[in-house]
């Protein structure tokens, strides 16, 4: 299938979605039908190969309900994701739809990950307020609906399945490797009910002091560790973002620095490694993915949807 025909097919889908969705106010955005690719192919696909000068949309071939939006720079990424980040994540701003003038000078994050519930919550709030969204946000909503991450039930956006990860070319190639590795484990968490269940079982099995360590670690980074879903999602991502042999050293070095700000909780490094090994063993057995190894996993040809 040619890119041109993919675009034509995508345009028809977009039109159908918009006609079925009163909340869209006739705006379609310009969502591109995702290219199926491995993570290393996404990193290696130069902007000169993109269909749009500002962004390209990929579908992670190992987890096809995970869509990855690679943007040309932080400006495009911010126009797409920053309002959502503040609405869903930023302490002190959660639940607020910031106007563009209020977002001036606020860079969201260097990379993003959002699942169906967060996106539904944001777009419903925008719909309720008849809030003027950026074209990039409208395109994101269209993309999410096309891909089954969101649906429209006639009155509300409903969460579907999968998720969206965001990455930018403003980050250096080395940063992009680190960032996409970390985000990809959120992608697996969003995509696989089995893996989520396993993560929750492992979390439930931790001793209170061990949970306290991870909560303290996440709190120190600004996460709201009272949110258990968030905590378990980050717990697994931080343990899996690097090969096993580096996990204990990462936490040890980080908590040593954090001890300058406050006295951090501590954990037996052997227990931390055991937690990482459990997650790694599950991912190896179920998906042939090892800790820190998502970029190496699956490397078929980039194909159109």
């Amino acid at each position: 299938m040619s890119i041109r025909s993919v675009l034509r097919a995508g345009a028809v889908q977009v039109l159908l979605v918009v006609l079925a969705c009163p909340g869209a106010h006739g705006e379609t955005g310009n969502a591109l039908s995702p290219f199926r690719a491995s993570l290393d192919q996404i990193l290696a696909t130069a902007p000169s190969q993109w269909r749009s000068p500002s962004q390209e949309t990929f579908r992670w071939e190992m987890f096809p309900d995970i869509i990855i939006l690679d943007t040309i720079d932080f400006t495009v990424q911010d126009r797409t994701f920053t309002r959502i980040a503040y609405f869903l994540e930023k302490r002190g701003f959660r639940g607020r739809l910031l106007r563009n003038t209020q977002l001036v000078g606020r860079h969201g994050w260097n990379a993003h990950d959002y699942g169906p519930d967060g996106l539904a919550s944001f777009f419903n709030a925008a719909e309720d307020a008849r809030f003027p969204l950026n074209a990039e946000e409208v395109a994101l909503r269209t993309l999410a609906m096309e891909q089954g991450i969101l649906s429209w039930d006639g009155s509300r956006f409903q969460p579907g399945r999968g998720g969206i990860l965001g990455l930018s070319r403003s980050s250096s190639p080395i940063e992009r490797r680190y960032l996409l590795t970390h985000e990809s484990f959120h992608g697996i968490f969003f995509s696989s009910q089995e893996y989520r269940d396993f993560c929750f079982r492992l979390w439930d099995s931790l001793a209170p002091g061990e949970k306290e360590f991870y909560r303290s670690f996440l709190d120190s980074l600004g996460y709201d560790s009272a949110d258990e879903f968030l905590t378990v999602n980050e717990f697994q991502a931080y343990l899996m973002q690097q090969p096993l042999e580096y996990a204990a050293a990462y936490f040890a070095r980080f908590t040593k620095l954090l001890s300058q700000n406050s006295a951090p909780a501590v954990i037996d490094p052997a227990r931390l490694l055991a937690h990482a090994r459990s997650l790694d063993a599950f991912l190896q057995n179920r998906f042939a993915i090892s800790a820190g190894g998502t970029l190496l996993a699956g490397s078929g040809t980039v194909t159109a949807k």
Binding site: A85, L88, E89, K90, R91, W109, N110, A111, H112, D113, Y114, G115, P116, D117, G118, L119, A120, S121, P159, S172, P173, I174, E175, R177, Y178, L179, E183, H186, F189, F190, R196, D197, F200, R201, D204, D219, S220, L221, G222, Y223, D224, D227, E228, F229, L230, N233, E234, Q241, Q242, P243, E245, Y246, A249, Y250, R253, F254, L257, L258, Q260, N261
Partner: protein, 199 residues
């Protein structure tokens, strides 16, 4: 029931997963302050990277594990894994007196590998500040405002001074005045270099 509740919680909150800035790379920083001919010539830095980053870069630029970098390899590492730091001011916030140094010129960049296979970047930032009778100061904080990289605590043991008898130089570690950009971001202390002509 516990599993049911966990599943319910998961359904209710699925997808709200914040991405906070957090360091992925750790650097141990050594500094040398160089005076020569009555001039603060500049400051050299020696950054030793963590094992994971070291392995990643060395896999790309020294795949045979020689630990040696000829001119072509130095150029490749510099272009591929150092020059981009210009966009981040080479992680150095510096003031001479009260004047911030807006642009740095980097000299003598050299990668190397320790016995423990850790990657080391060495480079020099020229300053050319003439030493005067009155006391002058340079303050520098080495940190990454995107919080992708975290620098170890800076101790006086990490700093050396190369100077002749014509210069009196004192070092101090003080709380930095640079404000953190991210929740919970650890900020290294600043190095304060006070110097004047020897009496």
């Amino acid at each position: 029931m516990k599993r049911f509740l966990a599943g319910l919680s998961l359904m209710l909150f699925m997808g709200i997963a914040p991405v906070m800035a957090h360091p992925h790379v750790f650097i141990n920083d050594k500094i040398n302050v160089l005076f020569d001919g009555g001039v603060l010539q500049g400051i050299s830095f020696q950054w030793t990277f963590d094992d994971m980053f070291s392995n990643m870069i060395l896999a790309d630029y020294d795949p045979k594990g020689t630990g040696q970098f000829d001119a072509a390899h130095v150029k490749a590492v510099k272009e591929g894994a150092f020059d981009n730091l210009e966009n981040y001011h080479y992680f150095v916030a510096m003031t001479v007196g009260t004047k911030p140094v807006a642009h740095f010129k980097i000299e003598r960049f050299m990668p190397s590998v320790t016995e423990k296979k850790k990657l080391v970047y060495s480079f020099f930032i020229p300053l050319k500040v003439t030493v005067e009778q009155k006391e002058q100061s340079v303050r520098l904080t080495v940190y990454d405002d995107t919080y992708f990289v975290a620098f170890d605590l800076l101790h006086l043991d990490d700093v050396t001074v190369t100077a002749g008898p014509d210069v009196a130089c004192e070092l101090a570690i003080e709380k930095t005045k640079v404000k953190p950009q991210w929740p919970g971001q650890y900020m290294p202390d600043q190095l304060v270099i006070r110097f004047k002509e020897s009496s």
